[in-house]
């Protein structure tokens, strides 16, 4: 028998165990998958060539449901962190791992792996299913076409990083409703409002906001007037890093 001691790998295993043993994980992941697939099929089945959606990027069109599904995954991110404060589980968690910060890294890691994997697989399935309906239209495309696979992976990565921001907000605010409010207000709505302001600099700044960057990553054809995919990915990584760094610092200082 090995000697009991805390190691990063063991904390990771503990967080993985926690993630898979509550219903909310399965409910949010399956909801997001159902939304992505359902909206994708709807888009494919109702599409007519030359209609209003003809100029829409094929990947954006088929994965339109990821905008809704992403919200379910963001809620999961918030439950992973802020949820522990709601139930009191955080006291047991931080008594077991009193160095605290490894818990946050472990949570972020198991969330990232779970959400990226399921999002990517669902996105691939959704794209292929939608294409069955789109075969004879001007939106017909295959996985091997230029930019398609990258955009599908970009969509999954974007949704995952957006969810990590939510996870970080949950850890910083320690309240499920508070973090959901902050996510919807600050991450989803605020850039829309800033974009309508009559200052040109705002247009440039808003390009690098999380939701805009996610849009860039999920497009097969580069969008005019948007950031480049590389810049968007970097911006999103920085947002997620900042959203995790703040609670990591606070976790060390605050009383539980």
């Amino acid at each position: 028998m090995t000697t009991p001691a805390i190691t990063p790998a063991r904390v990771l295993r503990s967080e993985w165990h926690k993630l898979r043993t509550v219903r909310s994980t399965w409910i949010t992941v399956l909801t997001s998958a159902a939304l992505l697939l359902g909206v994708g099929i709807l888009m494919g089945a109702t599409y007519t060539s030359g209609g209003g959606d003809s100029d829409v990027d094929t990947v954006v069109l088929t994965l339109y449901g990821s905008q809704l599904g992403g919200i379910a995954l963001a809620v999961l991110g918030i439950l992973v962190t802020a949820g522990e404060y709601a139930t009191g589980m955080i006291r047991a968690t931080l008594t077991a791992v009193p160095s605290r910060v490894p818990v946050l890294w472990a949570k972020a890691t198991v969330y990232t792996v779970t959400v990226f994997t399921t999002s990517l697989l669902t996105a691939l399935l959704t794209f292929l299913t939608a294409q069955v309906f789109l075969a004879d239209t001007d939106q017909a495309a295959s996985l091997t076409d230029d930019g398609i696979l990258t955009a599908i992976a970009g969509n999954a990565a974007g949704v995952t990083l957006l969810g990590l921001i939510a996870l970080g907000l949950g850890a910083a605010l320690r309240s499920v409703p508070g973090a959901i409010g902050a996510f919807v207000g600050g991450v989803l709505i605020l850039p829309e409002i800033l974009g309508t302001l009559p200052y040109e600099v705002m247009d440039t700044v808003v390009r690098y906001f999380p939701t805009q960057a996610v849009g860039v990553l999920g497009s097969a054809i580069p969008l005019p007037g948007a950031a480049s995919p590389g810049a968007a990915f970097l911006a999103l990584l920085l947002w997620a890093a900042a959203a995790l760094a703040v609670p990591a610092l606070l976790l060390k200082r605050r009383d539980v």
Partner: protein
């Protein structure tokens, strides 16, 4: 072994714990007593590294709790508030905690059996009664087979059977050589389980003593005597400390009932009642903490 040195915790202008120093030794049950709001839970949270002291520090086995490589093997704790996800089963809750230390599944099953939870181990905690919830908290505390066990108000809200189970458990843990620190606001409960007592009020140390010493300090035993000739009896017992409880009733301290009875018989003083009184630890505790109770009830 737990050692607190000058522990102080302030929230803004409010001082919850003030300059608290004490040591808790292995092999006995130490009661941590104080009225509600005395700072017991805050002190325990500082020992466990959940709250940072404003000043001073606490160590467990010579180090701060958080500095241990396997803290669950040093201290197991049951905190007052529930610390469990209600949607997870008891088994999975304990497994998640066990994984952090690489504690094997067999140990999880062992503590489930020890706390009598084996048959409900795979049910979600949501449906647990208060007593089962406490048992799960204790199972979690014992998970790392810790040398020190800290329990915050473990009998609160339990039925008599649950209370008895906790008492036996505490005594057994101490008999195994562990350090046991158990907080309570009920002196009567501590009198039954604890050997040593640390009494605090308004965040300050009021007494660090044993139950026996506290009994002695509270005046020891006394005898209630009812006699129509109270004044004569008083004169016959010059060495006793006597207080009058009524025209015919005396409370005699410093003498045992047989001695009082013999003295009365020798001088033909009729006695209607001669009753040894149990020492009132409750009273001693209240005397000790009178000035530090948060809310004083006014007598009508």
């Amino acid at each position: 072994m737990i050692r607190a040195e000058n522990l102080t915790k302030r929230y803004g202008d409010t001082t919850v714990v003030q300059d608290l120093s004490f040591t808790v030794h292995p092999g006995s049950v130490t009661g941590f007593l104080g009225p509600n709001g005395a700072g017991k839970s805050t002190t325990l949270r500082m020992i466990l590294g959940l709250d940072a002291p404003t000043r001073g520090h606490a160590t467990v086995d010579g180090r701060p709790y958080a500095a241990h490589r396997a803290p669950l093997t040093h201290v197991g704790a049951l905190l007052e508030a529930r610390s469990v996800h209600p949607g997870r089963s008891a088994h999975h809750h304990l497994m998640a905690l066990a994984h952090t230390h690489g504690i094997p599944r067999a140990r999880v099953e062992r503590v489930l059996a020890l706390t009598g939870l084996t048959h409900v181990a795979h049910q979600r905690v949501k449906g647990f009664s208060l007593g089962m919830g406490q048992r799960l908290g204790i199972a979690a505390a014992l998970l790392g087979d810790p040398a020190t066990v800290v329990l915050d108000e473990p009998v609160n809200g339990l039925d008599p059977e649950g209370v008895l189970w906790i008492r036996t458990l505490l005594k057994n843990l101490a008999a195994e050589g562990r350090t046991v620190l158990v907080s309570s606001h009920l002196m009567s409960e501590m009198a039954l389980t604890a050997d040593r007592l640390i009494v605090i009020g308004k965040g300050r140390l009021l007494a660090d003593t044993t139950v026996d010493e506290l009994v002695r300090a509270s005046g020891g035993t006394s005898v209630k005597v009812v006699t129509p000739e109270a004044d004569r009896l008083r004169a016959l017992l010059p060495d006793a400390r006597i207080t009058a409880e009524g025209p015919d009733t005396l409370l005699v301290a410093g003498l045992e009932a047989p001695e009082i009875g013999r003295a009365a018989a020798a001088h033909a003083v009729p006695l209607h009642e001669l009753t040894p009184q149990a020492p009132s630890l409750e009273q001693a505790f209240m005397d000790l903490t009178r000035d530090s109770v948060e809310y004083q009830g006014a007598s009508a």
